[in-house]
Symmetry: C2
Subunit: 478 residues, 2 copies
């Protein structure tokens, strides 16, 4: 496959309003799907779950088949941050998930086949998801069973071009080293691919537009599209590109600037080597020891007969959920889920430096991380009340984010965490332009990176955390 | 720091014969150091080690201080390769080591400050090592104690430029997720840096020349210099570069070709995205479960009153070693070490494709790997007899390597593994040009990569294994 051509196709899709449905129509379609779905989702005591149970000595919570995932305890010791030792429950799901999107050029523009998908934890029940969400067992069909729709486009049966294929992390504060395989395939222009019920074609721009609505595009979609590369151009070539018609339909000066940040190879404050040096030094300075403990040995956490919670009521709790969803058929099951104690925030501060917008990235240590720390948004505060005046911890740059008004707020909406594990967990996602006085010099856990650099690092293993990727997906330059 | 300038400086150092000592003189100096060192290294039963002991229930072997490292047992289950389940002892050394080299421009050419260092497991006792080999505790001086020489150039006290700073893996078959910090710093031209006894300046070319001698440049030096970037140029710019005097002192057509492979940005069979897709698919297909077990629970391994060994006598054994080294002062200690059962081989097959030399890389699953698999040489066979006619396993491409003669053998010498843990372990390192009939199409666990791509992937975390890096260090293009 011609990589440069592909990247240009992705770029055009990120700029194009779509040729099949308007974004408004997609939104209406999604709301209709939502209304058609009757769901009854009840919190029940963990001990009343039928398909799940505490193991004999309350070491963990498992499915009776011992498949899917388990809730276990960990003890964390670290020299990082303000709290150096704690226990917590964590989700252990060793199998890699599979998140795949099919794309196809329609009327010359790449469209993405997205799915209206029901998840019990979703605030809107139905959110826009990738074409395929499958477990590794689903994918490899080891257990036979009902085959997921469109699987044949991902398992080698149908001929496709693989546009990208990456392993990406999930939330390191809640999952133990969980990773998903993020994949985008492209079918030929002549491939007569069926559009099943609950599926719909749209451009990348339309997915980004839908992200401006609260809890509409699910986490799995966000992580897959965050990985899309748009190519790298020298400043000189960028000026040439601008002349191309599809790139000149810009609506604001801000977006031209972001286009430069995503495409430009030049003018970055730090080159790749500098960024790797920074990450190495931060990893070297980090001590993190995570050991498995039984749930009933966790200090400061207890099962109150309903849920597992922290004695302060903070952070999150593990709850039981009984799910009944009536669409055309009735599906019923129960499972444990994670319910957050508060809403959180994920925010990038951005600033124009050397004529190119740079994103302020931090290294964030979380116990479930695959490799000590990952690149995270400027502000990531998903436990504790982050609002000004209620800060439980001192969160660097939180005031720079929350005090922004008007045109400095480039993006702001609520985004859900994965609705199969997290019960109505939403986090405020923001991209905020820093005040003109905001210093270029920053603390050692922070680094300025261009969008181009963020996408490039993301393509390697486990560099950007899921919060950073969620925000990266939200960046629009149309 | 100007990255392009730095990369050109590295390139010139890789081409330059040195301005201070001839390579022959360095070799003589090293041999003299060797002769001056009196060492008495005796194998003793593990149970007679004074500073080390089996823990109460023979779970593991630890130092009495519980510091340094321990020998533990693991049980491995995998769907990879021919053997799907086994137990083995492994070295657990959670602390990151620190491997640092100081460089300085002398007469306009970057020179590297190398050390003649004694290690008990070294075949030559004294080998060439980086300026600094330190544990994290040494480096951070948490235990105070005697400060390693030149530490002040690495811990922020002396002003230096950091040229590169990366985390790199050790042998995944012997170490449990061990990593070292590989760092190169550059002092200013005016910095009057002392050259202590046992230290010597040389160019990068000279280090590479010394690698052509058996067991002369230690593993730590090889991994650090393998990470050095030389820049990336379009073919057009390469032709310009050729005109530069320092680049035209080439001695063979082969080396011009390798120079293209290391510097060229163009003409690679697979681009970065293709390579990442390949790695992702291989990782996804890999199942690897490693669980800690006690030494006395290992199947097919036992302590015979002297050593821990496999009942077949194959693979490796854990031995006790009593060390007495007399240089100017007498140092004595004892410790467990790993002794291999056979010599192994590490070899890259290379082939000119699209006018640029490509290296045949494989993905290799090893239980101590940080992330399932790493990029390894075409042939990596460190357990079992690999010689033709004695193949214990079927090793792909082994015959293509061993049957090569004459000019097709570009590099061949014995290289030692780390002499602080491995007892007289040497592996044959080879770079062999494939026969002209060798196919471009290769099995799914293999991939063609240029030198430029190998160096570039290496700069990210845990991509190239130590065997691949050892061979990368050996590539010369002078």
């Amino acid at each position: 496959m011609d990589q440069k051509k592909l990247e240009l196709d992705f770029l055009i899709s990120a700029l194009h309003k779509g040729t099949i449905h308007s974004t408004e129509d997609i939104l209406l379609w999604l709301r209709k799907k939502n209304e058609e779905t009757k769901s009854e989702i009840k919190e029940i005591p963990i001990s009343e779950l039928k398909q799940w149970a505490f193991s004999t000595n309350s070491e963990k919570i498992c499915h009776k088949s011992e498949k899917f995932f388990s809730i276990e305890g960990i003890r964390v010791k670290t020299n990082w941050g303000l709290v150096h030792e704690w226990d917590q429950p964590i989700i252990n799901q060793p199998e890699m998930g599979f998140l795949g999107i099919i794309t196809k050029a329609i009327d010359g523009v790449l469209h993405f086949l997205m799915q209206a998908k029901i998840e019990p934890g979703n605030i809107n029940i139905v959110q826009l998801s990738p074409t395929l969400q499958a477990t590794r067992s689903n994918y490899t069909q080891v257990h036979k069973g009902k085959q997921p729709q469109y699987l044949e486009y991902f398992n080698g049966i149908k001929k496709v071009d693989i546009c990208l294929d990456q392993l990406q992390s999930e939330q390191g504060a809640r999952f133990l080293k969980k990773r998903n395989r993020n994949i985008i395939v492209k079918v030929g222009n002549d491939e007569d691919i069926p559009v099943y019920e609950n599926f719909i074609w749209m451009t990348l721009r339309q997915i980004k537009e839908l992200m401006r609505y609260d809890n509409t595009v699910n986490m799995d979609s966000r992580t897959v599209i965050s990985a899309i590369p748009f190519g790298a151009y020298s400043t000189q070539n960028l000026r040439l590109l601008e002349a191309i018609g599809s790139l000149t339909r810009k609506e604001s000066a801000n977006n031209i600037s972001l286009l430069y940040s995503v495409l430009s190879n030049d003018n970055a404050v730090n080159n790749t080597t500098e960024i790797i040096k920074w990450i190495t030094a931060r990893k070297f300075s980090c001590e993190l020891e995570v050991s498995g403990i039984t749930l009933n040995n966790m200090q400061h956490w207890f099962y109150d007969g309903n849920v597992i919670k922290h004695e302060t009521g903070k952070y999150f709790s593990i709850i039981g959920v009984d799910v009944k969803i009536e669409n055309r058929e009735v599906v019923q099951w129960d499972q444990p889920m994670v319910r957050p104690a508060q809403e959180g925030i994920l925010a990038f501060l951005i600033k124009k430096i050397n004529g190119v917008f740079h994103f302020l990235v931090q290294v964030k240590v979380e116990p479930g991380n695959f490799d000590l720390l990952e690149l995270a948004p400027t502000v990531q505060c998903m436990t504790g009340n982050y609002r000004i005046g209620f800060n439980e911890y001192s969160v660097p740059f939180i005031n720079d984010v929350l005090s922004a008004t008007g045109e400095r707020i480039w993006f702001s909406s609520q985004q859900s965490e994965e609705g199969g594990r997290f019960f109505k967990e939403q986090n405020l996602n923001m991209i905020v332009e820093a005040d003109t006085n905001f210093p270029e010099r920053i603390p050692e856990n922070f680094c300025w990176m261009t969008l181009n650099q963020l996408i490039s690092f993301s393509s390697f293993n486990n560099y950007l955390n899921v919060g950073a990727r969620s925000l990266l997906a939200a960046v629009s330059f149309y």
